[in-house]
C-alpha cells in the first residue's frame, strides 16, 4: 500500500489532506480499490460467461452507442450469452446481461408487465415490447436494437419527445361540452359506446406503431397512429358532445392528419395492446367525410 503522498501529488491534488502523510489518501485508497474491483469484476464476468457457455444459453446481439464514452461513439453490436430459463423474456435477458456482464448496458423498463410502455425495441427486425416477448419465440442470435426512426440517446434508449409532441397535438384530454351539475352524479355512457372506445383507451404510449410507420418516417409532422388513435378515443366517446367532436375532427383532418395514412397496417401489426389502429384511422376518415357532407 503506497503512502508516498509526495510522488502522487499531481494526481491527488485537491483531495490529499496536508497532514495525511501517515495515511494513504482517500484518493489513493479509491484508486487502489478501483483497480482491484475492475480486475475482480473482469474475472467474475469471465467465469459467468464460461459457465453460461456450457449451459443452455441464448445469444443476444445488442446495439451499443454512447455519445460521450470512448469506444462507444461508433455504434456497434455486443454479444451476450445468457442462461435460458423457461418463461424468460427479452427484458429478463437484458437485465441478466446488464447485472452480470456490463452494468452500463442501458434500456428503459419499469413495470415488467406490458403496462408502462417503456421498453419497445426493435427485436429481430420487429418493434416489440421486450417484457412481453418470450425468448423462446425468437430465432438466434436475438438481435436487439433501439426503435427505428427515432434519435438514439444511448444503447437501446431513444428520444421519445417527438412521439409525445404528436400526442399533445391532438388535444389528448377529455373535454365534455357539458357536465352533470351534481358533483356526485356520473355522466351516463352506454355499454355499446364504452365498448366502442375500449380498445383505443388501451394505448400505453410505447411508440412501437410510430416507429413502424413508413409515412411517419417520411413526414415528420404526420400525427401518426398513436395520436390519431388518441383522437379517436375522444371523438367517439358519446360523453363529450357534438361541438367538441367537431373540433376534434378538424384536428385530425389537417394536412398531416388521417389522410396521410395509406392503410399499410404496419402499426396494427406491432401494437402490443392489439389496438386496431388502422381501422380506427379509417373510421375517423369516414367520420370526417360524413361531417363534411353535413355542411355542403
Amino acid at each position: 500500500m503506497s503512502t508516498q503522498v509526495p510522488q502522487q501529488t499531481d494526481e491527488t491534488d485537491a483531495e490529499s489532506e496536508p497532514d495525511a502523510e501517515e495515511e494513504p489518501s482517500k484518493g489513493d485508497l479509491r484508486r487502489e480499490k478501483k483497480a482491484k474491483r475492475a480486475a475482480e469484476r473482469e474475472r467474475e464476468a469471465e467465469a459467468a460467461a464460461e459457465s453460461a457457455a456450457g449451459e443452455n444459453t441464448r445469444e443476444l446481439k445488442v446495439f451499443r452507442f454512447d455519445p460521450e464514452v470512448e469506444g462507444k461513439q461508433e455504434p456497434r453490436f455486443d454479444e451476450f450469452h445468457v442462461p435460458f430459463e423457461k418463461g424468460m423474456t427479452v427484458l429478463d435477458a437484458l437485465i441478466y446481461a446488464r447485472d452480470t456482464y456490463d452494468s452500463s448496458l442501458t434500456f428503459r423498463h419499469s413495470c415488467r408487465q406490458a403496462v408502462c410502455g417503456s421498453d419497445a425495441m426493435f427485436v429481430n427486425g420487429q418493434q416489440r415490447l421486450a417484457c412481453k416477448t418470450q425468448l423462446s419465440d425468437l430465432s438466434e442470435p436475438v438481435r436487439i436494437e433501439p426503435l427505428p426512426h427515432a434519435d438514439v440517446r444511448k444503447d437501446l434508449v431513444v428520444d421519445m419527445q417527438h412521439f409525445y409532441d404528436q400526442m399533445d397535438a391532438v388535444e389528448p384530454f377529455f373535454d365534455a361540452d357539458e357536465l352533470p351539475e351534481d358533483e356526485l352524479e356520473e355522466q351516463r355512457q352506454s355499454r355499446a359506446n364504452r365498448e366502442k372506445v375500449k380498445m383505443s383507451t388501451r394505448c400505453i404510449w410505447c411508440g412501437a406503431c410510430m416507429s413502424s410507420c413508413n409515412i411517419a418516417a417520411g413526414d415528420n409532422q404526420y400525427l401518426g397512429p398513436a395520436a390519431l388513435n388518441k383522437a379517436y378515443r375522444f371523438a367517439m366517446d358519446e360523453r363529450e358532445g357534438e361541438s367538441r367532436k367537431q373540433e376534434r375532427l378538424e384536428i385530425i383532418e389537417q394536412e398531416h392528419g388521417v389522410w396521410r395514412c395509406q392503410t399499410q397496417f404496419s402499426c396494427t401489426e406491432v401494437c402490443p395492446k392489439d389496438i386496431p389502429l388502422t381501422e380506427h384511422i379509417q373510421e375517423l376518415k369516414r367520420e370526417a367525410v360524413k361531417n363534411n357532407l353535413k355542411f355542403w
Partner: protein
C-alpha cells in the same frame, strides 16, 4: 456536466403516479404555480398496473360510514380514524370526478358506472374499468395535467430534499429538491416556495418476488427518513395471494370477486375445506388468503411445492372476456397459461406497503413544507392491512387534500400528530448489530447525501439549504463515478434475498435478527459501492446505485419494526405470539433516522372517529 441551474415553483410534486398527478391538479386549481418532477414519464408510473378498482360508496344502500367501518376492521384496528374517515367521505366525490374527467369505467345497462365485490367489503363498492382500472385512472389524470398545462420535468430523478438542519426534526423546513436529469446528467435545484409533495409510490424492490415495478424503490420514503421524518408502521407489508410464480405479475382480486376459486394440489377448495375463512372463503382479507396458501404449500398440499391454483373457467368465456379480459393476457404472456382452458398457478408476492412516511390527514409531515401522499405515505388509512381497492382512492383523496394544503388553502387543525412529540412512548429495542449509518468520517465510504443528516455543518438558513444540497449531490455523484467499487446489483439482490427469506409472510425472531445482520453487511458493502459506467448520458448504473441505498434504509427499518412488534396483527404475523395483542400493541411503530442512529418509538392509534369510536373486534371473515 453538472451545473447549478435552479428551477423555481410554488409547489413541487415529486412523482407522477395517481397521487402526484392528483396533487398537482389540486395545487394548480388552488392557484399555485406547480411543477411535477418525476424519474419516469407520468404514463410509465406503476399506478398504471392497478387492476381491480376504486372503493367508493356511491350507491344507495351503501354509505361512507360502512366503508369506514370495513376499512378500520380490515386495518385490524391500526388505522387512524380521522384519516380513514377522510378517505371514505371524500372517495365518492373523487371517483365521480374521475368519471367527469372522462375515465372509461365499466358500465351497467343504464349507463352508470359498475361496481364489483372485493375482499373485506360489506358492499360491492369497488368501481372499476375492466381489469385495467389503474391504467385508465393514470391516463385520465395525465390527460387533465396536459389540459391544464402543468409543467412536468420528466426523467428527472430526485436525489434528495433540501431540508434545514435544526436538531429537532419538528423544527425543520423543506425548501425544494435536488434533481438529476437522466438524459444529460445535469444536477439542478428545484426551489419550492410553498411546499414539496412526495408521491414516489411503493417500495416493492425491497423484496425479490413483487408485483411492483423496477422503479418502485421507495426513494421518497428513504429521502424523507434521512431528512428527519419518521417512517411509520413499516413492518406491515401486504403480500398479495395471487401473483404469477415466475414473474410476480398480479392476478387481480377481481378474479375472486367475480367468483374465481382457489384449489390446492389435492383439488380441495382449501379456504373452506381447511377452515381458513368459513364465511368469505376466497374473498377473505388478503393476508388471510396469503397465509392459507403458504400453509397449504408448507404442509405439502401445494403444487410443485410452490403454488396453488386459481380457477375461473366456470365463470364462462363471456363474463371473463367482459370483465377480466386483461387477466387472460397476463396469464398467457407471463406464464404461458390459457385462463379459459386451465387454472392459473398463483402464489403470494409482495404487493403493497401499508407503512411509509408519517403524515397527518392532510398529507403533512412533521417537517414544515414537506408533504407525502399515495403509497409512499402513511396517514394511516390501511393500518395493519389494506383492503383491495383502497389504495387508488387514497391517491386521489389525499393527493387532492395535500395539493390544496400546499397551495395555501385553509384547513381545520389536523387531529393526527406528526413527529416525535405529543403522546408517544420510547421503545425498548435491542438490535443484534449496529444499525444505521456508520459514524461520519470513520471510513472513506460515500458521504452521507442528506442535507439534514449527519456530517457537514448545520444549515438552517432556508435560502442556503437548496444550494448546499445541490453541492452535496454533485460531489456525491462525482465520487460514485470515480469509484469503481462493488456493483450495486450484488448488494441489492443480497438485500432482496434476505428480506424474502426472513421478513416474508411468516416471521420469527431468529430470522428477523438474521436479516438485520445481513442488512448490516449490505450496508458495509455499500460503503464501497461504485459506478462503472462513466457516462453522463442516461446512466442507469448510477441511478440504480442511488436507489439501492434507499432500499437498504427501508429494508432495515422494515425489519426493525417487524422485530419489535411481537404480535400478530393484519399482515404481520409473529411465530412467538400468534395473537393480536390489543393490550400492548394498539399503537403505531415509528422509526426516526436520528442522524444515522435509528430510533424506534410508538404512538397510540386513534380509534376515535368523528361521531363514534371504533371498538376493536375480532377480525373474522
Amino acid at each position: 456536466m453538472a451545473s447549478n441551474t435552479t428551477y423555481e415553483h410554488d409547489v413541487i410534486v415529486v412523482g407522477a403516479g395517481g397521487a402526484g398527478l392528483r396533487a398537482a391538479i389540486a395545487a394548480q386549481e388552488a392557484g399555485a404555480d406547480v411543477a411535477i418532477v418525476s424519474k419516469l414519464h407520468p404514463v410509465r408510473s406503476h399506478t398504471g398496473a392497478a387492476e381491480g378498482g376504486i372503493n367508493a360508496a356511491i350507491r344507495e344502500g351503501d354509505s361512507w360510514e360502512d366503508h369506514a367501518y370495513d376499512t378500520m376492521k380490515g386495518s385490524d384496528y391500526l388505522g387512524d380514524a380521522p384519516a380513514i374517515e377522510a378517505l371514505c367521505r371524500e372517495s365518492p366525490k373523487e371517483t365521480i370526478q374521475l368519471e367527469h374527467w372522462g375515465m372509461a369505467f365499466s358500465r351497467e345497462e343504464d349507463g352508470t358506472v359498475s361496481q364489483r365485490p372485493f375482499g373485506g367489503l360489506s358492499f360491492p363498492r369497488t368501481t372499476y374499468a375492466g381489469a385495467e382500472t389503474g391504467h385508465q385512472l393514470l391516463h385520465t389524470m395525465y390527460e387533465q395535467v396536459v389540459k391544464r398545462g402543468i409543467e412536468v420535468y420528466d426523467e428527472w430523478h430526485v436525489m434528495n430534499l433540501a431540508v434545514t438542519d435544526e436538531d429537532d426534526p419538528t423544527d425543520r423546513s423543506c425548501h425544494g429538491v435536488v434533481g438529476y436529469e437522466i438524459r444529460s446528467g445535469e444536477i439542478a435545484g428545484f426551489r419550492a416556495r410553498d411546499g414539496v409533495i412526495l408521491a414516489t409510490g411503493g417500495m416493492g424492490q425491497v423484496f425479490d418476488h413483487t408485483t411492483n415495478a423496477v422503479a418502485n424503490t421507495g426513494d421518497g420514503v428513504a429521502m424523507a427518513y434521512r431528512a428527519g421524518v419518521p417512517m411509520e408502521d413499516m413492518e406491515f407489508i401486504q403480500f398479495h395471494p395471487t401473483t404469477l410464480p415466475s414473474t410476480g405479475v398480479l392476478i387481480s382480486e377481481g378474479v375472486r370477486g367475480e367468483g374465481g376459486i382457489l384449489y390446492n394440489g389435492e383439488g380441495e377448495r382449501f379456504m373452506f375445506e381447511h377452515g381458513y375463512a368459513n364465511n368469505d372463503g376466497e374473498l377473505a382479507s388478503r393476508d388471510v388468503v396469503a397465509r392459507a396458501e403458504l400453509t397449504e404449500v408448507n404442509e405439502g398440499r401445494g403444487i410443485e411445492d410452490e403454488y396453488v391454483h386459481l380457477d375461473m373457467r366456470h365463470l364462462g368465456e363471456d363474463r371473463i372476456l367482459d370483465r377480466l379480459e386483461n387477466i387472460l393476457h397476463l396469464a398467457e404472456d407471463f406464464e404461458g397459461v390459457d385462463g379459459l382452458e386451465e387454472p392459473m398457478p398463483v402464489k403470494p408476492g409482495q404487493h403493497y406497503a401499508m407503512g411509509g412516511i408519517e403524515t397527518n390527514e392532510y398529507g403533512q409531515t412533521c417537517v414544515d413544507g414537506l408533504y407525502a401522499v399515495g403509497e409512499c405515505a402513511c396517514a394511516s388509512v390501511h393500518g395493519a392491512n389494506r383492503l383491495g381497492g383502497n389504495a387508488l382512492p387514497e391517491l386521489i383523496v389525499f393527493g387532492k387534500l395535500a395539493g390544496r394544503h400546499a397551495a395555501g388553502e385553509e384547513f381545520d387543525e389536523p387531529e393526527i400528530e406528526t413527529g416525535k412529540r405529543g403522546d408517544h412512548e420510547d421503545a425498548d429495542f435491542d438490535a443484534p448489530v449496529t444499525l444505521g449509518e456508520r459514524e461520519p468520517g470513520s471510513d472513506a465510504g460515500p458521504a452521507d447525501a442528506s442535507a439534514a443528516a449527519d456530517g457537514g455543518e448545520a444549515v438552517t438558513d432556508p435560502d442556503a439549504v437548496l444550494e448546499v444540497a445541490v453541492d452535496r449531490e454533485i460531489e456525491h455523484v462525482e465520487e460514485l463515478l470515480e469509484t469503481d467499487g462493488v456493483n450495486h446489483a450484488e448488494i441489492r439482490s443480497a438485500v432482496q434475498e434476505t428480506m424474502t427469506a426472513n421478513v416474508n409472510v411468516f416471521r420469527e425472531e431468529e430470522g428477523l435478527k438474521e436479516a438485520l445482520v445481513d442488512l448490516r453487511e449490505a450496508r458495509d458493502r455499500y460503503a464501497d459501492v461504485g459506478v462503472s459506467d462513466p457516462s453522463r448520458t442516461f446512466n442507469t448504473d448510477l441511478l440504480h446505485t442511488l436507489e439501492t441505498r434507499n432500499i437498504i434504509d427501508i429494508a432495515e427499518a422494515l425489519t426493525m419494526g417487524a422485530l419489535a412488534r411481537n404480535e400478530f396483527r393484519g399482515a404481520h404475523w409473529r411465530k412467538e405470539n400468534q395473537i393480536r395483542d390489543d393490550e400492548n400493541w394498539l399503537k403505531h411503530t415509528l422509526i426516526s433516522w436520528n442522524d444515522g442512529d435509528p430510533d424506534l418509538w410508538y404512538r397510540p392509534v386513534i380509534l376515535e372517529g368523528e361521531n363514534k369510536r371504533y371498538e376493536p373486534k375480532v377480525r373474522s371473515y
